[in-house]
Amino acid sequence: MTDLLLRNGRIMDPANGLDGPGDILVRNGRIEAVGHGIPAPDGCLLVDVTGRWVTPGLVDLHVHLREPGEEYKETIASGTRAAAAGGFTAVAAMPNTLPPNDSAAVTRFILERARDAGNARVHPVAAITKGRAGKELSEFDDLLRAGAAAFSDDGSPVRDAGLMRIALEYARGLDALIISHAEEPALSEGGCVNEGRISTLLGLKGIPWAAEDIAVFRDVALAELTGARLHVAHVSTRGAVEIIRRAKGRGARVSAETAPHYFSLTEEAVLGFDTRAKMNPPLRTEEDRQAIIEGLTDGTLDVIATDHAPHSSLEKDVEFPLAANGIIGLETAFPLSLALVRAGRLDPADLVRLLSTTPAQILGIPGGALRPGDRADIAVFDPERPFEVTPENLFSASHNTPFLGTTLTGRAVLTLVGGRIVHNLLGTGGRTESP
């Protein structure tokens, strides 16, 4: 492995209070030094990153890699390649695959595929219940030993509050993390857009905000009852933000994420029956969008995760109510989040915290910082670089995003995993120097 010196970047590492110009030396896959005017050792690749942001590799708490089972939508190789292209060096892979990840065998398979691809680290999230059927618990300990990072039935909620309580209690004993897909199905079933103005205008069955708020409240209450750690996935409503804010105020062991689409778009995006903007939870109102941004600003929401959900035209080019939920997000997350910095709603340091430092902490994995001795999982961003979102420019095997055809600003130009270059748009920017 070539050693590497990133020279003269804007080093952004909120975990260590760093934000300023500097160099990073990477040797043998680890960060050797962070500082100014670091001399380039013999045979080292010198990369001039002037004006670029150098951050710890981003960590995505919520992706769907579709393998095993739906490889025509995405594979672990293509999904992690998309991750690398978005500046992500680690992703948490949700268990709603075919078969679902409810066994050590599937967890090991995912890890093996991820190792073979070598694009980004994959942390499998195992199913809370066998078959994600909501009836009996998966073997948590066995799954943890195999490498599972957390538990979730994501894609579906755990309907039975009693079973969710048992899952949390059992997880507490193992210090495992439960991720809640918070949705009250009795209120959401059959719905395909936010319930409100747009559902009325389109004659579609809506999903009310209450379907999310009630479920978030239930799971937060159960986390407090059991003392377990809970992470709330894809928060989209004003009410859910408020419930989490209050729980945190009481000292509950609760963390929460939102996704870039919930602070970038509103329900209006589905007008014209545009299935590219169909997702669950659905895009909400402007009021919700503002509350989500507020939640990110005041720390109620800890993490920006993508909920990267690849689908092919088979699932998306159909009548709106039949279309699958979800959009891809790994490659658009950084520019969409950066827009909040441009709008003055977040500091650059917040951005790194939300996309890297905190998700790494929640998942309990290395990364999220740029300390000497750490594995060299590093992302370099050009915050000014235009990114035309076209099928040709996307690395994901699917292109289902409402941002297709738009031009965003900001893109990862170099991504290192364990010191290895997994994504590089710098072209001839680097050169070998032998002093």
Partner: protein, 315 residues
């Protein structure tokens, strides 16, 4: 120019006031054909109209078929039971296959909102929405406008009351939009479970009591209450519904002196309409049916004219 602003008729939402006036005026001109002994004119000779019905509907299908036949079109009807939907073929497959047979117009009835919009994105032929889910039923709204205009000589300034299940009714969605667009004042009323959120976004105000809705109304549009909605669903019983919202002779007295009573059919007598009201002279329910053919003839011929002109523009 005698053409519609869009190649498709997907919903009242997409029509301009001028489009609506054009349809009504054309229907006016075509209606007298229906009174002739030989009810056939040639504008669609050599053209084919495909009626794709993915949901049972005797009335609308019959009305469209008659309209097409009276314009001398060749017509084919595909209904859900006979169609390949049952075999799991997607709407896209069906559409592309039908498209390959080069129809001139496709009339689609589909249980899912947005299906005609989807179809229109994938075929070259103009698409007429004959009812999609709970979204729109534009030809019904146009025939309702036509019937009202015929009675009152105008639409602007009239007070329209729509009573029933507004949430799940594509007729209500299209009627609210249509009457609002043409300058009428629309009030809706029904059980809380049947009034959608933000009904004002469609162009109606909602009131709690049926008496308030009927007060001074020029047009009372009564929607069909599906019996399967009772019980655990949207109302406790049709009995209670009839008591609270059913249109009776007594209640109709609250309306304006020249009130007309409309219903998109089929009527549940004794539920949304008291039997003595159905046969009341104020009821224009059967005129609606007659006018439906004229309005659909207007839509078909306007789409063919517009499409022919466009083809001409291109060369």
């Amino acid at each position: 120019m005698n053409r519609l602003s869009s190649r498709h008729v997907l919903g009242i939402e997409h029509m301009t006031v001028r489009d609506v006036e054009l349809v009504l005026d054309t229907a006016d001109a075509l209606k007298n054909i229906l009174d002739r002994p030989i009810k056939k004119v040639p504008p669609l000779r050599g053209r084919s109209v495909v009626h794709l019905f993915f949901e049972p509907s005797t009335r609308t299908r019959l009305s469209f078929e008659l309209a097409a036949k009276r314009l001398s079109a060749d017509t084919v009807s595909v209904t859900a039971a006979a169609s390949s939907v049952v075999k799991g073929e997607s709407l896209l497959d069906t559409a592309l296959n039908i498209e390959a047979m080069r129809p001139d117009i496709i009339v689609l009835r589909h249980p899912l909102s947005g299906a005609p919009h989807f179809l229109a994105r994938h075929v070259n032929a103009p698409v007429i929405n004959a009812g999609d889910g709970a979204n729109e039923h534009p030809s019904q709204a146009l025939l309702d406008l036509f019937t009202v205009r015929e009675r009152f000589g105008r639409i602007t300034g009239l007070r329209i009351a729509i009573i029933g299940d507004i949430s799940h009714s594509r007729v209500a969605h299209s009627d609210i939009r249509a009457f609002d667009k043409m300058g009428a004042e629309v009030t809706v009323c029904g059980p809380g479970t049947m009034i959608p959120p933000y009904v004002d976004a469609l162009g109606a105000k909602s009131v709690r009591s049926v008496e308030e809705a009927l007060d001074g109304a020029d047009v009372v549009m009564v929607l069909r209450i599906q019996k399967e909605r009772q019980g655990g669903c949207l109302v406790p019983s049709v009995r209670e519904y009839a008591h609270l919202y059913g249109i009776t002779r007594d209640r109709l007295r609250l309306a304006g002196p020249d009130v007309v009573l409309m219903h998109p059919g089929p009527v549940n007598q004794g539920v949304e309409l008291a039997p003595d009201v159905f046969n009341d002279s104020r009821s224009v329910i059967l005129d609606q049916v007659t006018n439906g053919v004229a309005v659909r003839m207007a839509l078909l011929s306007l789409l063919i004219i517009s499409d022919t002109n466009r083809e001409g523009d291109g060369t």
